[in-house]
């Protein structure tokens, strides 16, 4: 866990430095009338970098002082969930909300939660239909139809 602390602190510092570098070409204080668009990103990027490096240093010192960390992360399920989620995002626009959601939910419940296929398909169907009716039909949220594009309104 302390490794995570240290890595996150360094990552935040890197983000701060990157923001500074990216905003450096912009106007910092172009006239006497006040700061330009580069002012805030540069200043905040610098502050974030310094603050995060300070936190990283603090973590480094604690590493050499306290007890070793015992908690370990069980990442099997999160990794599976994110892989399926990535697949969901890839197919979301191509095959549309309805089918992609149904596939995502089924795969998730079977592979991540290790449930039976029949249960997964039942839940998947119910959730997809309810979500579609609520967001698309009732609230008018524009979700991609994908392969249902062009199908007459009364079917879709």
């Amino acid at each position: 866990m302390r490794h995570v602390n240290w890595i996150v602190a360094v990552a935040l510092a890197s983000f701060g430095i990157t923001a500074m570098a990216a905003a450096w070409p912009l106007d910092f204080w172009p006239s006497r009338f006040g700061p330009g668009e580069g002012f805030l990103p540069v200043v905040l990027g610098a502050v974030l970098a310094v603050l995060s490096l300070g936190i990283a240093l603090q973590n480094w010192r604690k590493k050499n002082e306290g007890k070793p960390e015992t908690e370990s992360l069980n990442l099997t399920k999160p990794i599976r969930a994110m892989l399926i989620f990535i697949l969901y995002l890839i197919i979301f626009d191509f095959i549309g909300f309805v089918f992609s959601t149904a596939i995502f939910l089924t795969l998730y419940i079977v592979w991540v939660e290790e449930r039976r296929l029949r249960q997964a398909m039942t839940i998947s169907l119910a959730v997809t239909v309810v979500t579609y009716l609520l967001f698309v039909q009732f609230l008018g949220v524009d979700l991609p139809l994908g392969v249902l594009e062009g199908v007459p309104e009364w079917i879709s």
Partner: protein, 501 residues
Amino acid sequence: MDILSSLGNGFATALTPINLLLCAAGVTSGTLIGMLPGIGPAAAMALLLPFSFGMEPASVLIMMAGIYYGAMYGGSTSSILVNIPGEAASVVTCLDGYQMARKGRAGAALGISAIGSFIAGTFSVIGLMLVAEPLAEFGLRFGPAEYFLLMLLALMTVGLIGGGSMAKSLAMAIFGVLISTVGLDVVTGRERLTFGMFGLVEGIDFIVVVMGLFAISEVLSLLTQRTRQHIPPPTRIMEVLPNREEMRRSVAPIARGTILGFLIGVLPGAGASIASFISYGIEKRYAKNPELFGQGEIEGVAGPEAANNGASGGALVPLLSLGIPGSGSAAVILGAMILSGVRPGPMLFEQQSQIVWALVASMYIGNVLLLILNLPLVPFLASLVRTPIHILLPIILVLSVVGVFGLHNSVFDLWLLLAIGISGYFLSKAGYGPAPTVLGVILGPLLEQNLRQALKISNGSLSIFVGSSISLVLLSLLLFSIGGRWAYNRYQQSFSKQGTP
């Protein structure tokens, strides 16, 4: 007496059967829609506004008031039950409300949210009635320098609410403000921190950040737990609602939150989000055991929820007396008023008093209906927490995708959601709370805008930030909060070194 007789006339208008029905429909639909992630009170009112076409002006406003309160309560409900804030002002409720739900006290959190909202909403309406004009004039004295300092003060208080170290909380707040700078600069139109990606030109919507840091991150966190937490069902119905001890502990936070929320709500643009964050910071400061905040403390729900609803009445003060909406929701109400032929402003109370007082009366009624309709639903809503997690987690992911995609119809936003969610998971594992980042994203644009405006007015001179009594007070509060926290930390460190219990 004049106010009372006007209010009486307002009630006479608002208490007709059709208007009561419209208010009840507004409260119910607002609550249900407000629970949906990404759809806050403003969006809920905008979605339901077309249903009001053809109605009498008073009826339109009565329905809008019902939706307004309902949506705010709905946003808090999803914060407590599934850690997805329905809107910006409900973000803070996630911190302790969701933890209460995980301990089997979802009903208590929902109940206190409803009760606190009712009390704060009622008192804020009284405040609206009595002090609308002088408070609106006070609000006008806030210039860019004062607004900048107020935003900075709100960001500084995250050092108290972020959980973990103050340094980490400040880092997250700065991170949030940096995220808010991504996109086109509103003044010069130049791209900032887009790294050549077209999807970032419009900036990063705060809903994407909220969904990623709260919903996605929480799903990942729950998936890493080796054992799933079992929430035992209550054996008696009264166990679902707040008990006497919880009610007693909530009295002071609700009182403080109400006043704070109303005063902050009066400031145009400040709004309920800031009020709820500052309220949380204050409650943590007043708490006997501040280290327990973030683990399910009732005060962490009661105060912010009261501040949230207190700000709702306050936001209508500048709207009704000056025609300036104090928040996004107030802006939708302004739109509804204009569509109905009602023009808010200094002459509104004189020229169309019947409609104004009908609106004020309907806010009382909306508050009461909120309590009557939603409190009995608390046991049912609390039972949703016991939805099997293998069903709940994928539903949260789907709702996050729909909520984010519905913003701009952008698949790029979905990839951002994923990236922010994974980052948020590791950030939380390292002790960086998500709330300061969200506050930074919300306040960042206002902070920068007011800073640049203030310095333009003063020709680049920093003296503008000490030029008025209001800015001096705000600056003093800022320095006091930083200094006070530093001194407290030193005190705690010296205590722990001495080994004193």
